[in-house]
Amino acid sequence: MAFDAVLTLRDLGYALGRQILLRDVQLQVSSGECLAVVGPNGAGKTTLFRLLSGEWTPTTGEILFHGRALSHWSVSQLARVRGVLPQSSSLSFPFAAREVVMMGRMPHATGRQQDEAIAEEVMALCDVQRLARRPYTSLSGGERQRVQLARVLAQVWQPAAEGSRLLLLDEPTSALDLSHQLDLMRVVRTVCGSAVTVLVIVHDLNLAARFADRIMMLHQGEAVAVGTPHEVIRPDLIECVFNVQARVIEHPTSGGPLVVV
């Protein structure tokens, strides 16, 4: 188990002055796993994401990526095996959607022809093919989100010499309507497999329960539970963490847990 861990977090913590935003997070994500991070606002999800994406440096503990400290990876090495999708993007120039997706191929030297073929595939997967020629700036929030997802998928589409690939997604469903939320999570689920590991921050517990292999629940900067959806989505935990009285029933078709408020 230990040797195929893509991500290892040891005693991970982050403090801003005297305020502790994240403390003592222990986690191992193994290759091909889809791990969802849930928690109320201010629980430390964004802090965790910034540490994992390398934007912030941990104040305590360490992050190992393929057994090697994250800080020892060069940006160009990371770009070949890791795609990062932040919550919102600020592109204010009228690139065509296809050009934005093609940017995901920038770290790779695979040649224009192959890059274009990959762009077509991921655009079809993300349902943005008909937007290919539209300027990014004319797209709606949800369309932009799907184009950005296609971009990071294009980035990790092919095996890389550096090791199995990782996708970090920060609330990718936030700007989407219900059907596209489900579509997007299905896409993520499809991509996630033997060679691609996914760590996704999700707001909606039911979405996390339905699509993740494991769930980590954060509360006030601490990981209060890590486990399968059945282990984590429990009424007592939800009441303690989200301060909501909820019932958890069995999902009528998938058999997974379903939160009913």
Partner: protein, 344 residues
């Protein structure tokens, strides 16, 4: 229009540049026919200085002037495109956000303190200090205006207003303290015209123009990625810090030498990249070279117009570009209010 065949636009722009250079060389108070133009060039290329009127007008007066306007136009348009990429904002312009003002302070300082260095080194202090001033302002506005979600247009433009106020106050202060001869140099330079063109100034500007253009192939990919956001560019494998330093240095360098040579000429850096983006899109691979060519062509044409419009007098070129550029800027601001400018 040229989105699918950008190289065609580059060819057309190169043609436009050639035409505007030839027109600028042959038109003026003394009209020169193409044959005479050819004669002057072939004589000079054979190493003969014939001393005819045509030779004097073309070789000593018009050619340095036209060359300088081409170089400065290229510099200003290129620096505009670079600054807009850096700020991830199509409304950034070196003169609006105070970069030109910073460069002007440096240049004015060098002119007023000038003589103490003397000789060739003295001639270089003007562009050098202009470059230092431009770099400081670019770095300052960048610190103030750029946040994780891109540039706040308001912060950037307000910082520019404040910096421009400070720089013009400082230049006025320098003018009041300068001695007679240096004051005259300063005033001539402040009026910002190409009638002060000389081969020496061409020699200042040319190496930096060429160097900036040679950097385009090394920068365009990173600049494209940077438009997605700084962390996005980093996640695509670009060394963002280094890229940003290069862009700041090149933008300040191109603005600095232009300002040092001919004073502050506004709006070229705003209007030219905008026109190019409308023609072929925002991809820096084509935007940077096309803006360089169009800037060169347009500024040499503008200088020709400045010479011809009110003959025998001459319009200061800065006045002409402001008269054309300021309404264009207002038009962009109005579009922005209606939300039609790139969804800003």
């Amino acid at each position: 229009m040229f989105h699918s065949r950008p190289w065609l636009l580059l060819i057309l722009l190169a043609g436009l540049l050639l035409v505007s250079v030839l027109a600028s060389l042959s038109q003026g108070s003394l009209a020169v026919t193409p044959t005479e133009l050819w004669q002057v060039f072939s004589d000079r290329l054979q190493g003969q200085a014939t001393g005819t009127t045509q030779d004097l007008v073309i070789w000593q007066i018009r050619l340095p002037r036209v060359t300088l306007s081409v170089l400065v136009g290229a510099c200003l348009a290129l620096s505009g495109a670079l600054v807009q990429g850096l700020f991830r904002n199509p409304l950034a312009d070196p003169s609006l956000i105070g970069v030109s003002g910073g460069a002007a302070v440096g240049a004015a300082l060098a002119i007023v303190l000038g003589g103490s260095v003397g000789g060739l080194a003295g001639a270089w202090t003007v562009p050098l200090l202009a470059f230092v001033g431009g770099t400081l302002v670019t770095a300052l506005v960048y610190r103030l205006g750029v946040g994780p979600l891109g540039t706040s247009v308001a912060t950037m433009l307000l910082a520019g207003v404040a910096i421009n106020a400070m720089t013009s106050a400082f230049i006025s202060f320098l003018a009041t303290t300068a001695e007679d001869v240096r004051l005259r140099n300063l005033v001539y330079w402040l009026m910002g015209s190409f009638n002060v063109a000389s081969w020496q100034k061409v020699l200042w500007v040319a190496p930096f123009t060429l160097m900036s253009m040679l950097m385009i192939p090394a920068l365009w990919r990173g600049l494209n990625a940077l438009l997605l956001g700084e962390s996005e560019a980093r996640h695509l494998g670009f060394a963002v810090e280094r890229l940003r330093r290069w862009v700041i240095v090149l933008a300040a360098l191109t603005v600095g030498v232009s300002v040092a040579a001919v004073g502050v000429i506004g709006f070229v850096g705003l209007v030219v990249p905008h026109i190019v983006r409308m023609l072929l899109g925002p991809d820096h691979r084509w935007l940077l070279p096309a803006a360089t060519l169009l800037g060169a062509a347009l500024l040499s044409l503008a200088d020709l117009a400045a010479r011809l419009l009110v003959e025998p007098l001459e319009l200061p070129i800065g006045v002409l570009t402001a008269v054309l550029g300021a309404p264009f800027f207002l038009f962009l601001v109005m579009q922005r209010r209606r939300g039609q400018l790139y969804g800003l």
